[in-house]
Amino acid sequence: MSIIETVGLSKTFKTRQGLVEAVKGVDMRVEKGEIFGFLGPNGAGKTTTMRMLATLMQPSGGRAMVAGYDLAREAGKVREQIGYVSQAGGVEVAATGRENLILQARLYRLSASRAKERAQELIIALQLESFADRAAKTYSGGQKRRLDIALGMTHQPPLLFLDEPTTGLDPQSRAHLWEEVRKLRNEGTTVFLTTHYLDEADALCDRLCIIDGGKIVAEGTPDELKRQVAGDVVTIGLDTHNGALKQGQDLLATQDFVREVQLDHDHLRLYVERGEQALPLILRVLDGAGLNLQTIALARPSLDDVFLRQTGRSLREDEA
């Protein structure tokens, strides 16, 4: 059963430069109990879409049902069903983690004693014990993020929105946070998260959408998406002088075993059926043409390849 369903959801901003279409008609479904990822480069419309679904922003067009309620007409009901953790988090840094949690629980109309209990439950659930009674401004990035999520889970919402949950965290904290997110999912919470990290989308999400320029370009499980690319990816580095790259591209594009060749800055990217069989053939072709091979690498397709196929750009480039 879908917990989120959108039809033609769009957002247009008025700026001094004119109208900007940040989200151009998003249709998607998020199923109950899954970790659903929204993958895309910065500025793709991820956060805007999430903010609309979390009732923080009015859509310019389209419709959405969130947790059984109509986003446009029943925003208050939607709010009761969702937790939302923004990129910034929103912790009161002068207060301790526990004070933050108790206040949040009180604002969700829990009694004073129940709020204390709930804070303690969350502290245990998200393993905040060792620092819950220190001022939040002393927390590390990972600690703060766990408090953010605890705040979002205060009222036990069936649906939790996480905006770029691991941006800026060290690898260990990221791994820890992924564990927490999986735990939430296993306990029945649906998690909708945005990310611009490929490995995060791949490792964490049950299903995902790839969004670029305000439009969804692909949707499915990580495996389904990678299967769309089909076969393996061979990356070849050639001498970049005197048009060798272009020559290599034209040459390889005519070979039967090559599905597609893309020129990507200083190297060529080949999509082939069976990488291990293609390698010697590639070498022979290039050698025959007198082209000097500098590097060659074989890889299974990644989500970045999916992104590249759909948009013609690499997600990694946008990060840099």
Binding site: A54, S86, A88, G89, G90, A94, L107
Partner: protein, 252 residues
């Protein structure tokens, strides 16, 4: 009525955060106390009408109370910009919290801080030999609370609209200097030429200062007193309404 309980919860939390850094309460006091210590003595011979039960501090202290509001409450908008960036405002917007509560709780906290600062300032003035009607002084403190609410709300609204410290700082400076001079805070505008007296009537602080001066004199029946109260209450209502509507829409 969740408005009251929500406001109270947030008020306590905000106050706690402020009290963890009590230095800021003193920082806002610094400039007005400088004026009291280093400027008020200059007035001794200039201010006419001093007599028994009255001295230059009777005229000067009411103005410094208003100045305190300007240097304290009018600058709170800076903090909302930091909160906006830290996502604090947004996090509250997805909770069922009454929409007016986050603003009201902040403004009330600021008004309370202003009240405490004013009390400290009056203590200093008394130590320096202030002669004033005690009941009038207390009533002036009552007037300070809605003034603090008005100034703080106004400042939050500006902060939420401008969203940048770089933008709000010059704007507040541009606002405060003429307001300070036109309100007759430093010297009574009875000394001013006619055009300047006319210009002063635009500044709401002019009426507040007049009201507090009358109160310090013990002239409760002076029309300046009720004009001051009505004006400040109206101003507080307008500023809270305006700021609340901006709070409702505020996004980082």
């Amino acid at each position: 009525m969740y408005l009251l309980s929500d406001t109270w919860l947030l008020f306590k939390s905000y106050l706690q955060s402020t009290l963890r850094q009590p230095i800021w309460i003193g920082v806002a006091l610094f400039t007005p106390i400088c004026y009291l210590l280093l400027f008020a003595p200059l007035l001794e011979k200039m201010i006419t009408g001093t007599g028994p039960g009255k001295n230059s501090l009777t005229v000067f202290t009411p103005g410094v109370l208003v100045m305190l509001g300007m240097f304290g409450s009018l600058f709170v908008g800076f903090s909302i910009i930091a909160d906006l960036r830290a996502g604090v405002v947004e996090r509250l917007r997805v909770t069922p919290v009454t929409r007016l509560a986050p603003l009201l709780a902040r403004a009330l906290r600021d008004a309370l801080i202003l009240l405490v600062q004013c009390v400290l300032l009056i203590v200093v003035a008394y130590l320096m030999g202030l002669k004033a009607d005690f009941g009038g002084v207390l009533l002036s403190l009552v007037l300070v609370v809605p003034m603090g609410i008005a100034l703080a709300s106004f400042s939050y609204a500006l902060g939420l609209l401008l969203k940048s410290e770089d933008a709000i700082a010059p704007l507040l400076n541009i606002l405060t200097t003429p307001l300070l001079l036109l309100s007759g805070i430093l010297l009574p505008l009875t000394l001013a030429p006619e055009w300047l007296q006319g210009a002063a009537k635009i500044s709401p602080f002019y009426y507040v200062v007049n009201a507090t001066r009358a109160l310090f004199d013990g002239n409760y029946g002076d029309s300046a007193v009720w004009i001051g109260f009505v004006l400040v209450l109206a101003l507080a209502a307008v500023c809270v309404y305006w700021a609340a509507s901006i709070f409702r829409r505020a996004t980082a």
